[in-house]
């Protein structure tokens, strides 16, 4: 049967694909449930397979039908709890589901795709199951047939048998006999004709009493009952007693019983009823001939017949028209009018139909042969396009309709106003159209949105299959399935994401044993998360596997000749990790079939680049990796930064945009340096390579001359042309005699007056990122950022690599969209700066980062006009402005009413030898919290908070109440020790409980800190509390001390940023050593960023404390000691 008309097929495909979408995850869920099956779920899958199969049969899709049939068999077993879903039987199911998808995708050619292996696999599963099942249930009795006795129709059998008792009454008789048997059953045509009219089947059955009944432990009566329930006995050679007299063990006195039995059961199913061998059942067809169940004609002459018997064939010669008016045997259901004694013309058809029934197998195979013949002539080219329709929620469609209506209204309004020269009206209409257009755009975008779940949902399977083949245990967590993305993007990110997930399983997650050794759970975790952020979609793939080893990657890249050793030396760990994106890079030592074909990650990156997305890796060795992908919501309309170069406008997609940098003319020479032959800009301790857009795309750079008011050509040859003396590209007119080594030295140059120092000559830099690298694009001017509609480039421009597309600006002119990664290639930019200078800067950066970690947020204030104090900002609760008159003197103490209580007040000069508190009327109270109480420090303004790198002099100006001094803004600033001040004025607050004292005297604490000031400070405060302190100036010393004094130390307090060995490493070492793992580790930090805290928790840090928050630190120490 040829493929049915498109409409039906279309509907079938849509329906089937919908079923298939869920089938995979459902099968996985079934596997997870194991023996404890969720019936609803199994039913759902079963029905899905069933429906697909059903439709396939109609469409003549034999392969799909066969495959789903086998699937259904297994699912049926699972459903009836005859089979426990384990990976052994689930795997073939999943594979079959895949194949099915393949078949459906190419439905027109599906019959030619080879599915034998799948079918066989499924059949094997079934066979094995049946075997084991048979072994189990060999003994269980097969008698369970009483169920539907209520609905049986005993009357029929009586009618039929009654007739059999009066043989030969009519002239049209038929003698039936089995080949090789003597016994003949005589019937009349009248007996059988009505059944044929009802298109029932008539069977001639031989039942051997001993073999088929007694030895099967059945009773003859049960067989009779079965027959009566499923059809009617037309005739038999045995005389049946009345059903009322029949006792359960009645057996006829012959050896063999013959029945002529009428039922609706088809030849393919009849053997369920009669559990006898196939050759014991013959079918009596309308031509009054006997056929075997397989459809073969019973040719008695060819069979070994002991005695010549009147063959059925001979009898069938008496062909008599089936035009009799016999009352049909009554059936409850018969509702047809009596004139239903049959139209002649349907008979032949019916014959065909019956043949079809019997020959189902053959006819099907014939039809498929037909088809393959069809196709071998010309394979159907037209792949069936089933992705052409999209489901859109009706409400959305309604919304679109409304908007379209609005748009029409506004247009009418506009036309009207325009024709009547009503400027104001046009304006209003214009505004409306503007509004409606954006709404319309949004709504239309929504129709294209699909949830990322469509992509995510296939990963459970991917992960499961892979982890199974690789012997890993992986737990996949999906988050944010509902996040929606444009259809095109959804379709395009499937592959890259799959690759990343596969990579995570293959390379990321370790084998269970390895994981256990590393102290991780044997089960690895992969976390897939999608979320919206700033108009983009972020996708994160996180694994807690072994992480990427930058050095290994770098070595590999060197081996493969992708980079040089020198380059590798100066690369940051991040850059090294990003090497993985280089084309031709594969890290797997063994190339597996799952991933690691060496084309992986760069393809991922290219794919994502094409989507306007970027990818970024964050990885920590031994801890796992995170791949972060940023994608635009849609490809059609994107927000862009518009820039101007050479008088033309260009658009830079916002995804690529990191920041805009404007370097004022007078800073150009301090910020811009030349490294080798490249311009770089210093940006927060990093060197950022610069590209001049005008150079790359070959236009003339222009600048706007404010004085003359017009655009002039930019004559600057290099961004830093003053330093170009040391550049090979140096213009000859410059003085070559001074060759400064330092890029930023000679002051005298700043005095040179040229237009570059004019404000208009500031450098505009767009810092763009392509994911792997960041660079600065020097442009003439920066304009607005706006949403642009992406238009593909014309054919002629396709070759211009630097552009990703074009758009039309508001004034109708075309602006090109820049492709920042290709621009970088065109400029010959490589992602790593291979110079010593970069290494220096990297070193600087490291120091800067460390310095940053040792920075302290300070509150600056004064107590007297000319004396500046500071206190750690994190200790400050509040700052209140008060009047001197608000202060009350009660009980010899100064207090102020504060939040319904009395706040005790202090001033620094009470304790420390500093200038007395100002006598101004306006005072400040800085509220601190000490020992759980709030205290106020009287001070005066101006207050300021700043982040300062601390170089604290802990000796020169140290005195009671003053920790030390530092220089802030060229002022010597005294650091107040608020704790000490309060302690001196209110010693009774600090009395401690005896039990705590007990703990303290016995306790030694190891304290690691590189800054002398902090070391002394914190050590002092810990010692004051009565602990013994061992101090170390870095992690290495601390580790050594720990080894030496292993038995004394009961707690470790460590700084994070330290030379030689930092706090994280120290903690990791401690926690991994069986000797010290029990020691609590408290980390001290000046700023506890969340990432740090997370990192620290991973390393095993038990608690984080702020360096100068003495009280909390003590509390924490005591808590840990108590717990121990």
């Amino acid at each position: 049967m040829p493929i049915q008309e498109d409409e039906t097929l279309q509907m079938y495909l849509e329906e089937s694909l919908e079923h298939l979408n869920d089938i995979e995850n459902d099968i996985l869920a079934i596997e997870n449930d194991g023996a404890d099956i969720n019936e609803d779920l199994v039913n759902k899958v079963y029905r899905a397979a069933h429906s697909i199969k059903g439709g396939a049969g109609f469409m003549g899709l034999t392969n799909i039908k066969d495959l789903t049939h086998e699937m259904e068999n297994i699912l049926g077993k699972i459903r009836s709890r005859e089979m426990i879903p384990v990976s052994g039987n689930i795997n073939p199911l999943l594979k079959a589901a895949d194949k099915l998808k393949e078949l459906l995708d190419d439905v027109l050619n599906s019959n030619e795709i080879d599915i034998d292996s799948h079918v066989q696999e499924l059949q094997t599963v079934l066979k094995n199951e049946i075997k084991t099942k048979q072994q189990v249930s060999e003994e269980s009795a097969p008698a369970d047939k009483q169920e539907y006795i209520e609905t049986s129709e005993p009357r029929q059998s009586q009618v039929a048998t009654g007739k059999a008792d009066v043989p030969g009454a009519q002239h049209d008789t038929l003698a039936l006999t089995f080949p090789g048997e003597n016994e003949v059953l005589n019937i009349t045509f009248d007996q059988i004709t009505p059944y044929f009219k009802q298109s029932k089947h008539i069977y001639f059955v031989k039942i051997r009493i001993n073999e088929d009944v007694l030895s099967q432990e059945k009773t003859f009566q049960s067989i009779l009952e079965e027959m009566e329930q499923t059809g009617s006995i037309i005739s038999t050679n045995i005389s049946l007693p009345d059903s009322s007299d029949m006792d359960a063990h009645w057996t006829p006195d012959t050896r063999t019983a013959f029945f002529l039995f009428c039922t609706i059961l088809k030849p393919t199913d009849i053997s369920i009823l009669f559990e006898v061998t196939e050759d014991q059942i013959l079918e009596l067809r309308k031509d009054h001939s006997l056929y075997f169940l397989n459809g073969d004609f019973v040719d008695t002459s060819n069979l070994p017949v002991s005695e010549p018997a009147p063959s059925a064939q001979q009898i069938t010669q008496n062909q008599i028209p089936l035009e009799t008016n016999l009352e049909p045997v009554e059936f409850e259901e018969i509702t047809q009018p009596p004139e239903m004694t049959f139209q002649e013309e349907t008979s032949p058809q019916m014959n065909i139909a019956m043949t079809n029934q019997v020959d189902q197998q053959t006819s099907l195979s014939i039809s498929s042969q037909d088809k393959s013949a069809d196709k071998s002539a010309g394979k159907k080219q037209a792949k069936f396009e089933h992705e052409t329709s999209l489901r859109v929620h009706v409400s959305l469609l309604d919304q679109l309709m409304t908007l379209a209506g609005e748009l029409v209204l506004s247009r009418n309004q506009l036309l009207q106003s325009m024709s009547s020269n009503d400027l104001r009206g046009s304006e209003i209409a214009g505004q409306r159209i503007d509004l409606i257009t954006s709404e319309l755009q949004e709504a239309i975008m929504l129709t294209r949105m699909q949830s990322i779940g469509n992509v995510f949902n296939k990963f459970p399977r991917v992960v499961r299959d892979m982890s199974q083949t690789m012997g890993k245990k992986v737990d996949l967590v999906l988050e944010g399935k509902e996040v929606e993305l444009d259809k095109t993007i959804i379709e395009a990110i499937g592959d890259p994401l799959t690759h990343l997930v596969r990579n995570s399983v293959d390379h990321g997650i370790e084998l269970p044993q390895v994981r256990q050794k590393a102290g991780k759970t044997p089960e690895g975790q992969i976390f897939l998360k999608a979320y919206h952020e700033a108009g983009q979609v972020n996708i994160e793939i996180t694994d807690d596997g072994k992480g990427l080893d930058g050095n290994v990657l770098a070595n590999k890249a060197i081996d493969k000749g992708l980079i040089t050793e020198d380059q590798a030396k100066v690369m940051s760990s991040r850059e090294k990790i990003n090497l993985i994106f280089l084309p031709g890079f594969s890290t797997a030592e063994k190339i597996t079939d799952v991933s690691g074909r060496g084309v992986g990650m760069d393809v991922v990156k290219t794919n994502l680049d094409q989507l306007g997305g970027i990818i970024d890796i964050d990885s920590e060795l031994g801890k796992g990796s995170t791949f972060r992908i940023k994608l635009p919501l849609t490809l059609a309309i994107i927000p862009c930064q518009i820039i101007l170069t050479g008088g033309e406008r260009y658009a830079i997609p916002q995804v690529n945009l990191e920041e805009l940098l404007r370097i004022p003319a007078d800073q150009v020479r301090t910020r811009i340096e030349r490294v080798g032959d490249a311009d770089v800009v210093r940006l927060r301790g990093n060197l950022l390579p610069l590209i001049r857009l005008s150079d790359v795309i070959g236009v003339e750079s222009l600048y706007f001359d404010i004085e003359s008011g017009d655009c002039k050509k930019n004559r600057r040859n290099a961004l830093t042309d003053r330093r170009s003396k040391k550049s090979p590209m140096a213009p000859p007119e410059e003085d070559l005699s001074t060759v400064p080594d330092e890029p930023i030295n000679s002051e005298d140059r700043n005095t040179v007056q040229d237009r570059r120092y004019h404000s208009a000559s500031a450098l505009n830099i767009v810092v763009v990122s392509t994911g792997t690298m960041k660079y600065g694009l020097v442009v003439d001017d920066l304009q607005d950022s706006e949403e642009i509609v992406v238009k593909p480039l014309g054919r002629d421009l396709k070759k211009c690599k630097g552009y990703a597309g074009a758009t039309i600006m508001g004034d109708g002119r075309v602006a090109l969209i820049l492709d920042v990664s290709n621009l970088a290639h065109m400029a010959g930019l490589i992602s790593m700066e291979n110079t010593v200078r970069a290494a220096e800067v990297a070193q600087d950066e490291k120091l800067a980062v460390r310095a940053k970690h040792d920075r302290q947020a300070m509150l600056l204030f004064r107590s007297a006009e000319d004396e500046q104090f500071s206190a750690p900002l994190n200790l400050v609760e509040r700052i209140e402005k008060i009047k001197r008159s608000d202060i009350e003197n009660v009980g010899g103490k100064r207090v102020i009413k504060y939040r319904g209580g009395s706040l005790p007040l202090f001033s620094i000069d009470e304790v420390a030898d500093v200038k007395p508190l100002t006598d101004s009327d306006n005072l400040l109270v800085i509220v601190f919290k000490v020992t759980g109480r709030e205290v106020g420090l009287l001070a005066m303004g101006p207050v300021d908070a700043l982040d300062t790198g601390i170089e604290i002099d802990g000796s020169t100006l140290k005195q009671t109440g003053i920790m030390g001094s530092t220089i802030i803004d060229n002022n010597t600033t005294l650091m107040v020790d608020i704790h000490e001040i309060v302690k001196i004025s209110n010693p009774q607050w600090f009395e401690e409980k005896p039990e705590e004292k007990q703990i303290k005297t016995e306790t030694t604490i190891l304290f690691a800190e590189d800054s002398t000031f902090f070391r002394n400070q914190v050590k002092g405060s810990i010692e004051q509390e009565g602990f013994t302190v061992l101090e170390a100036e870095d992690g290495v010393v601390a580790w050594d001390l720990l080894q030496e004094h292993a038995d004394q130390i009961s707690l470790v307090v460590t700084d994070i940023e330290m030379p030689n060995m930092d706090g994280f490493t120290l903690t990791t070492k401690i926690k991994q050593s069986p000797l010290f793992a029990h020691l609590p580790v408290i980390a001290l930090t000046t700023l506890a960023g969340e990432e740090d805290i997370a990192k620290g928790k991973n390393a095993g840090i038990d608690d984080y404390q702020i360096k100068l928050d003495r009280e909390k630190l003590m509390k924490s120490i005591i808590n840990f000691l108590k717990a121990a």
Binding site: M11, Y46, R47, Q198, I264, I272
Partner: protein, 126 residues
């Protein structure tokens, strides 16, 4: 007079095929997606024939048949059951329950029609 034929199947495709098969004849087709809907429609329309699938969500064909057989009004309506090859155990069940006929899936429209012609006097539409 047009016969009322009710097709009960969860698969749109099958229902469509059933509809198509009957479309040249003097039949009015009703569709239901599951046994519950089917039962409701059967009560309302009293069809002359029901083409009933077995595997359906909510209420299977077998359950629906059971319900029909226990209702006086409905037990006389002839039912052609759609069964699958894999569901042979079901065949016995439904045959015992007294369906008028059954068709093994996949079937062709003509096959179904042949079965139906054994029950209804189908005439081409005029």
């Amino acid at each position: 007079m047009a016969y009322k034929v009710l097709t009960v199947d969860d698969s749109k495709t099958i229902r469509m095929i059933v509809k198509k098969a009957f479309s040249p004849y003097n039949c009015q087709l009703f569709e239901a997606e599951n046994g519950v809907e089917g039962l409701a429609l059967a009560n309302k329309e009293k069809p002359d024939l029901i083409v009933l699938d077995i595997t359906m969500p909510v209420m299977t064909g077998i359950e629906m048949l059971e319900k029909m057989k226990s209702e006086k009004e409905l037990k006389g309506i002839p039912v052609i059951m759609l069964t699958a090859e894999s569901g042979k155990e079901n065949v016995m069940k439904i045959v015992k329950m007294g369906v008028r006929d059954y068709v093994v899936k996949p079937f062709k429209g003509d096959q179904l029609l042949e079965r139906a012609k054994g029950i209804l006097k189908l005439k081409p539409k005029d």
